[in-house]
């Protein structure tokens, strides 16, 4: 077991980072929705799954991966917009648990809708032809697609960061997350902001599903373990913190991969243990504000 060469180590590290990229994207969507709406989207894993399905379908239909990259987040974002407007919004005054409960029920519906549409077995997914093959990284050959994954995530995170830090809409989102009253006073319709943020969150979830599709089995249940894992990332990084989501996402991915290297089959367990440890020593997560959690 311990004949792990530095090359193998490095390759596995890269695998971890690729996995972490997906976790980071998921956690970003979750944190955005939470930070802005104080809603924990229990349907986040389901939106991921829907994105994967729509992605595979659209690739089969149009033959273009790049077109799907555009189409899928729009589709899942649109579904998210509808859900926020008609299902989540009526619950805002009621108590923080209700939107959570609703999204939990929503996840059930999304899973069966996908089963109904695409069958219970799922769809076969493969790497888009342009991104097949491996690249030599100096310490070994690494799948091109996973490199693309890491790069794509970096681009998305950068784009998101620019949007939030540099644009007017992003300013509104940042302001709103700290004080809904101020935003209202400025004459901005806070409901529209919530709608938009929920849509962006689910769009990112769907996009991450599409990006992840070539690397795993695409079936209606694929989002279920992922929901729990994205909670781990948000606890570790700090709920509501976007840098936290990115850093924790990568960390969790790497922990998973490296544990799988030395103790295969214990990957999932290791990341939950990581979460338990963080809970013990720093319950608000690495980037979270103290007092937010307890």
């Amino acid at each position: 077991m311990f004949d792990i060469t530095p090359q193998l180590f490095a390759l596995q590290l890269m695998t971890g980072i690729a996995l972490g990229a997906i976790y980071a994207l998921l956690a970003i969507g979750l944190s955005l929705i939470f930070g802005m709406l104080t809603v924990v989207n229990f349907a986040h894993g389901a939106f991921f799954m829907v994105g994967a399905f729509l992605g595979v379908y659209s690739m089969a239909l149009t033959g273009s991966f790049w077109f799907s990259l555009l189409l899928v987040p729009l589709a899942t974002g649109a579904i998210g917009l509808l859900c926020e407007r008609f299902l989540v919004r009526p619950l805002y005054g009621r108590g923080i648990d209700y939107p959570l409960l609703l999204t939990f029920g929503l996840s059930y519906v999304l899973i069966d809708v996908m089963r109904f549409t695409f069958g219970i077995e799922g769809l076969p997914s493969s790497t888009p032809p342009e991104l097949r093959g491996s690249v030599f990284l100096g310490f070994g050959y690494f799948p091109l697609y996973r490199l693309f994954l890491i790069a794509a995530t970096a681009v998305i995170v950068l784009g998101l960061w620019l949007f939030i830090e540099k644009t007017r809409y992003g300013l509104i989102i940042r302001a709103g997350s700290r004080d809904a009253e101020i935003v209202k006073v400025l004459g901005i319709d806070i409901a529209k902001v919530w709608l938009l943020v929920f849509g962006i969150g689910t769009a990112i979830a769907g996009l991450s599903g599409l990006l992840a599709a070539p690397t795993r089995a695409v079936n209606p249940e694929m989002g279920i373990p992922l929901l729990a894992e994205s909670f781990v990332v948000t606890v570790v990084g700090g709920m509501g913190s976007l840098p936290g989501a990115v850093v924790a996402g990568l960390l969790v991915g790497v922990v998973f991969a490296m544990t799988s290297l030395v103790a295969p089959e214990y990957g999932e367990l290791s990341i939950f243990v990581l979460m338990a440890v963080v809970l013990l020593i720093r319950p608000q997560g690495f980037f979270g504000k103290a007092g937010l959690m307890s």
């Binding site: 648990d97 959570l100 059930y108 219970i120 729990a228 939950f272 979460m275």
Partner: protein
């Protein structure tokens, strides 16, 4: 007719355990088949345990399957691996789920609100993965098999446990004990403390109550009751499926509680009965049970958050208030 219903409801509220038992005694004769009654009884107990935490303390745990599952598995393992009698197995199931509740509760109570929900879900998944991997003891993916209890031997009587109706009444004894216990706790000084905490935590602390410790105690009690339900389930099914520990099983407790009425005494049983009856009916009509239950649940969250029994009680209160004003 209305007057009769009202007085029945008022009586029910004042004598909760007796009413529950009365109803549960005749319940199997209202249901299409006995195995369904047993299921409703067991999951009703599971929901009662969950309701103690969520309904009365306001803490939304998404990890209660851990206690159902730990109770099931440890009871099952006592029978299968250690060859212990059924009553010892139940004891082990309850004790181990209390312990699990202590550990998970200790970690989870450091957070609150929605974080608590997320954390309990994730902590319960740890339990899931641990049991999943421990194939030698738990059977892994295939679950634990061979929890065979064919007869309950009591001094003088031998009850055939394989007969579903017998099973029902044996299990009812334990459910009755649990309900009695829950009722006592709710009526006790400690019950007042958790009411106060749910009402206004800061205030309760200002009065001098150690809020964290009180919450932990409720958590452990809740876990123990769910563990009892789990142990009984293991004896009932003779197997323990690995999904008992999955967070979807936790979600089921949430759903049953909300459907029936959180924070009410009978709500969990009503919820469990409605849920399982619905499942029985729907799965015969379509394979998309998950979608149907999701829709039903969302409908209740949006329009009937008090649940069936809770709404009934609320209407009763309003009616009584209006009568009071008229006098």
């Amino acid at each position: 007719m209305k007057k009769f219903l009202v007085s029945a409801l008022v009586f029910a509220r004042g004598h909760r355990v007796a009413t529950a038992l009365l109803f549960l005694l005749i319940f199997p004769f209202l249901m299409p088949y006995d195995a369904l009654s047993v299921n409703i009884l067991i999951f009703g107990l599971y929901a009662v345990g969950f309701n103690l935490l969520f309904g009365y303390t306001g803490m939304l745990s998404f990890g209660h399957a851990a206690f159902l599952g730990v109770g099931s598995y440890l009871a099952g393992i006592s029978v299968v691996s250690a060859g212990w009698p059924w009553w010892a197995a139940i004891g082990v199931g309850v004790a181990s789920s209390c312990l699990a509740g202590l550990i998970i509760g200790f970690l989870a109570i450091r957070t609150r609100g929605i974080y608590f929900s997320m954390v309990t879900l994730a902590l319960a998944q740890i339990v899931y993965y641990i049991f999943y991997k421990s194939e030698r003891w738990t059977g892994g993916e295939n679950g634990l098999r061979g929890v065979k209890v064919e007869a309950i031997e009591l001094p003088g009587i031998r009850i055939d446990f394989l007969n579903p109706l017998n099973k029902y009444y044996v299990i009812l004894v334990f459910v009755a004990l649990a309900l009695w216990f829950v009722s006592r706790v709710l009526n006790s000084p400690f019950g007042a403390v958790i009411e106060a905490i749910r009402e206004n935590e800061k205030r309760a602390a200002a009065c001098g109550y150690n809020v964290a410790r009180a919450k932990l105690l409720v958590f452990v009690l809740s876990a123990g009751i769910c563990g009892l339900a789990g142990a009984l389930r293991a004896l009932h099914l003779s197997v323990v499926p690995i999904d008992s520990l999955h967070y979807l099983q936790s979600g089921q407790a949430v759903m049953m509680c909300l459907l029936g009425g959180m924070g009410t005494f009978f709500g969990p049983f009503v919820g469990a009965a409605v849920f399982l009856l619905l499942e029985d009916v729907v799965t015969n009509l379509t394979r998309y049970w998950m979608g149907v239950v999701g829709l039903v649940f969302m409908f209740f969250v949006l329009f009937f958050p008090k649940g069936i029994w809770g709404t009934l009680l609320y209407q009763l209160d309003r009616w009584q208030n209006r009568q009071g004003k008229a006098l």
